[in-house]
Amino acid sequence: MNDKTPVIQAKNLDLTFQTNDGPIHALKDVSLDIMKGDFVSFIGPSGCGKTTFLRVIAALEEPTGGSVTVNGMTPDEARRARAYGYVFQAAGLYPWRTIEGNIRLPLEIMDFSKSEMRERIDRVLQLVDLEGFGKKFPWQLSGGMQQRASIARALAFDADILLMDEPFGALDEIVRDHLNEQLLRLWDKTHKTIGFVTHSIPEAVYLSTRIVVMSPRPGRITDVIENTLPRDRPLDIRDTPEFLEIAHRVREGLRAGHAYED
């Protein structure tokens, strides 16, 4: 399925934050290749550096050691080339813009033509099932719909890479299931490479082709689990023995990294 060219390559990545309470090792010796078309989940307890790693890839943080390339460029060059779309934990829609206006925001910044904007807005609204809501303001939509709109915003300018930082973390489980299903379909349609931070084991197993297990103090990768589930995944696949087996391995990985200790 994947044509096995690495899109994101991290080698011996280190990141130490200097704080008033002394240095904090957010990332230590992190090496990982993410292939084109992969759906990679990062899972681990808080403080394990999963969000920091995503932010390093997005050039929102500067690593203090090691190297990382995105599409063969440095993260900052990739950012300038608008190589990725980023979805934050909160939808972060601008309250003064309609849903359409919010999706248009990156397109305006990137100087797309009016007709191109129109066409792209319609396409991504359809992709996230929000047709007919374009003229609404964010506060008129539910939390799940707002998060879908923020995904549409990240998709609008057609970056090959989608980085998602616990995008469904603040939503209830029913909405979350629904959005997981939609995200898989969307990934299948768009063939994007997705980096996805989560702290939910079922979510990670259900969505990913690979699951990266991380542990804290210092933040590091303890295990990388290949997901053997077929690409076509109905929601009830989560009750199959294969699914539970992989979930069990993730849990084992977390335990091995002392994730459950204080």
Partner: protein, 310 residues
Amino acid sequence: MMRNILSILTVVAAIIGLWYLLCIPMNMHEATQQAQRAGAEVTPATASERLQLGGIALAVQNPTLWPGAFGQDRPRLPSPDQVVAELWNTTGAMVLSGRSMTKRSLVFHGWITLSATLLGFVFGTGLGIILAVGIVHSRAMDMSVMPWAIASQTIPILALAPMIIVVLNSVGLQGLIPKAIISAYLSFFPVVVGMVKGLRAPGMMQLDLMRTYNATRGQTLWKLRLPASMPYLFASLKIGISASLIGAIVGELPTGAVRGLGARMLTGSYYGQTIQIWSALFAAAILAALLVGTIGLIQRRTLKRMGMQP
């Protein structure tokens, strides 16, 4: 709604009632003087004795003379009806008789003050926004401008206004512009403070989002910081416009007091025309209320158009 109107009216009625009541002791000396001249019985009988007494004591000893405390030509405290009548005579009545732009008309004086207020408000707001944008974008400006802006507001404007007028007059500027500059001097400050806070209102996440789009600082300012600062801007504008009006009035005092609401107050005090002072005062208050109300209206319209939750 009805309950609100009722309670507002109750408060207004109480204030007016208190005002009428205050008129009695305030104007009692003049009232006893006039009554004595007209041949009435007054206690105590001589003016020098009465001067030893306070207004309240005099009022208590001469309850029959209370009506004389109202309707005097030059009362210490004019009654509300006198002020309203003077207001009407110098505004509405003059408009009706086609003399609204003569020197006795408050419409004329109000317009003089209003034009300086508005011009100063535009100057001040513009300056305030420009300074705020600079402060938010440059650390050097952040460190250097803010202390000066604060220091500028600690100098009493009454001390500064004559100097501004004199200095500008020596370079040939007089009339509208110096007053507008004093207005601007007072009104830029709330705008700076409000806009710095407003422009910094977007959180880390929203700024990070702009960074992932590789947006320029200009685009971040225009598409994120400025729209996010709108509620703060309007709050500042309301303070700014009333400060502008005060600046314009203060600016009229040292110019020899020829035109404007400030001039009316000053000539009123020269000639002991309390009714004139009070009506100019009320004209200024009404003007301020109208200006602040107009900004509130624009605020409601704008924020509604921006989809802010009602």
